[in-house]
Every structure is written in structure tokens, then in C-alpha cells.
Symmetry: C2
Subunit: 219 residues, 2 copies
DNA sequence: GTCTATATCGGGATAGAC
DNA sequence: GTCTATCCCGATATAGAC
């Protein structure tokens, strides 16, 4: 995990190459030979540093989650308004995704697989992300600035579009050519997500027009 | 593709089992032996009906996309208001996801992989989904009911949360236990997504509070 | 159309020299 | 710590009988 002396190399290179490989091909599709080549090392070195493919994957994934959580906790502990914290929450995840471009694809695949490759401890870390959002919302509700919302569902409204935006960045060229759509203005992405999230939390929604004709009620 | 008489048989069973297998394990993780057992057939039968794993995958995937597109085109051609069409758009995708629970995971993995397993024709089909949304938005803009928004980004705001909701259904039990969160009220999901989408399209946004600069108190 | 049996190969993991 | 060479299982795909 960490020796006192500077050990810049093989282990770090393996982790970097692993992030790339897992992001591009998923757990099952990842190839240890290719990974070793990318790290400019021999395959045996991987097994010298890590117990196996699964352990390497878990390590990479936990590193990502920790990076996100560090930022989010900083957001939570700031003294901004609740709505500014929501904004900062979105920006923090986006910043981390930009910093570690391999995170969005890995995260997507992990979700699609039902968390199969994540041990219980890692799942616990992941759960802290919506939990943090939930505390921010609660604070806003306490001040009367937000109406209550389910943290996980709200979180889906944030990372869903965000991750899709990042993860489709490479494909969009292909898609755009087929669909004839213009590229997405980068600045719009975060604005829209923040705006939509705050609209969901708005205690006085103006969404009468959102209701078709008759509407069931929940509190 | 279709014989006139009822052929409820091997080919159909293979497709059903394939949807399950690909959804649960992804393309690389899918196992033809396990797939054959699930279809109560021998593995050789798969290769009798399909050219290989890739062809089988493509067939399943295209079937899903067609199902979605059929619903969406019906929505587009209805004579509802633009905002009701937006609502119907969301409901249509949700209905299809309920009907074919294997679609959300497959779709997620495909996106994460950058559309690697989809041929150009299938990509063209996929592109029709946001394109349809775009035409609905354009109609609303023409009536002054919507403000312009990028169709693909808007689409991300819809399917992102939606797919995450469906795809995490199995995991949420595990996650909830760790996080201590209550389950998501199912009725809230579609309401929130529709509401957020319409808020994004609102031509007179009340989102001054969404701006980073210091905001004044609201009335 | 449906089966059993098998060819073939890619890739995760290890042995052991240096 | 780093390498080369290799084991060996699992998985796709096929041959060929019925």
C-alpha cells in the first residue's frame, strides 16, 4: 500500500494501466497480457504486486471511490448554503471524472453487473456517496429551502446524466455523424444537471403544467 | 425470423436465455454453455441458429432497440401537447424497461463499452431515440412552450436516472442495508424525472438561485 | 433439428532463473 | 524486483451421428 521511500514505479504503472484496461474492456474483457504490455512490465510482475486480477480490480476501484469521497466530504463540511452545496456536489463529481477518465466506464460497468466485483467494504464506500447527498438535502430541508427527496433517487438524477456524458465522449462522434446532431455544449452539461436537481428540491414547484390532468398524490 | 405457424421453440428460447445471460454477465462474461443449459438445449443448437456469440448478441440488442423505438414513434405521432409527449416519452421507456428487464443492464454495458458490440446499423437505430426526443422538443419550442435544449443531453437526463433505477433494483437491498436508507418510492421515480425534464425545458426558469453568484433572497 | 464428443486456442496464473 | 517460459483450465466453435 505504501512504503516510506519513493517507489514511483512498477506498482503505480500497473495500477494506471489497470484503470485503462478495466475501463476499456470491463473485468471479464480485461487482458492481463495487454495490461502488462501497457505498463511496460512483464505479466509476472502483476502477480508479484497483486494477488490476482480480482484484487487488482478492487484496488483500482476503491482508489476511485476514495477520490470522489474526499471531494464530497470537503463539500459537505464547507459552510456554503445548501443549494450551493448541491452545486458543489455536482461539480466535485464532474471534476473527479475529468481527473480520472477511467472512472465513469468502470463505475457504469460495475453498476450494470450489480456490484459483483465489489466486496462488502467497497459497497459500503459507494453507499457513502448518496448518504452524503442525503445529509446536504436534510440540512436544506431543515432550513425550509428544500423539500424532502430520496437521496439515492436524487443521486441517480445527478450521476446518471453526468456519467453518460463522460462515458459517451468517445462515441459521440460516431453517433453525431449518424444522427446529424450538433455536439453538446460542454458548459450546458453541469448547468442543466444542477438546475434539474434544484428544481427537484424546490419546495414550491411550479410544475402544475407537469401534471397531465388527474394526478395521484403522495405527500 | 418468422415462420407462419407457431414456432415457440428453440430459436426463441435461445434468444430469451441470451438476453438473460448477456444482461447478467456482459458480452465477454457470457458463457455459451450456461446459456445453452438455461435454454434447455445443447450448445450446438445455438450455432445452428446463429453464426456465433457476436451475432446472437447483436440480434438480442436490436430487438430491444426496436421495441423502444416502436413505442416512441407512437408517442411522437400522437396529438398530445409537447409537455405531455415528454411525459409519455419517459413513461414509454420505463414501460419497455419493465417489460424487458434485461434491456437496462445490456444497454448500460454497451454504453460503457463505447458501442463496441453494436454495428453501424444498430448505432443508427440507437441514434433515433434522442432524435425523436429532439423533434418533440422542437415542436414545443415552436409553440413557445419550451426553450431549446440539446436533445442528447436532455435524453441523458431521462435515461440516466431511469436506467440506474431499474438496473440497481437487485442491488439496492444490499446497498440499503449498508446505507440505512429507506427504499425508493416507485411512484416518485417517473414523477421526478418528468418534472426535472420539464424544468429544464421551462422557457421562464426560476433558477436564479441556481446561479453560482450570490443570490438574493427569494420572495 | 437435436444431440455427444472434441478440436483449438486464448488467457489467468505460476515456476524458477537472475 | 524483474524477467522468460510454461502450465492448464475454460470457453468458443465444429464435426458428425441420429
Amino acid at each position: 500500500m505504501s512504503s516510506p521511500r519513493t517507489r514511483p514505479d512498477s506498482r503505480t504503472r500497473i495500477l494506471a494501466a489497470a484503470a485503462h484496461e478495466f475501463a476499456a474492456h470491463g473485468f471479464d474483457g480485461a487482458n492481463m497480457d495487454r495490461l502488462a504490455r501497457a505498463a511496460r512490465l512483464n505479466k509476472a510482475m502483476i502477480y508479484y504486486h497483486f494477488r490476482g486480477k480480482a484484487a487488482l480490480y478492487a484496488e483500482v476501484f476503491r482508489e476511485f471511490i476514495r477520490g470522489v469521497l474526499d471531494r464530497l466530504h470537503a463539500v459537505e463540511e464547507s459552510d456554503a448554503d445548501p443549494s450551493d452545496k448541491i452545486r458543489a456536489f455536482v461539480l466535485a463529481i464532474a471534476a473527479e471524472a475529468r481527473l480520472r477518465p477511467h472512472f465513469p466506464p468502470m463505475w457504469l460497468r460495475e453498476v450494470a453487473g450489480g456490484g459483483r466485483h465489489a466486496d462488502q467494504a467497497t459497497l459500503g464506500l459507494i453507499a457513502q456517496i448518496p448518504a452524503t447527498l442525503g445529509r446536504i438535502v436534510d440540512a436544506g430541508v431543515g432550513r425550509g429551502e428544500f423539500r424532502p427527496a430520496h437521496p439515492l433517487l436524487l443521486h441517480f438524477g445527478i450521476i446518471g446524466p453526468l456519467i453518460l456524458y463522460f462515458v459517451t465522449e468517445p462515441v459521440r462522434v460516431r453517433l453525431d455523424r449518424v444522427s446529424g446532431l450538433p455536439p453538446i455544449p460542454p458548459d450546458d452539461v453541469l448547468e442543466q444537471i444542477v438546475h434539474a436537481t434544484l428544481a427537484t428540491l424546490d419546495p414550491a414547484p411550479r410544475a402544475l403544467e407537469a401534471r397531465p390532468s388527474r394526478q395521484g398524490r403522495r405527500s
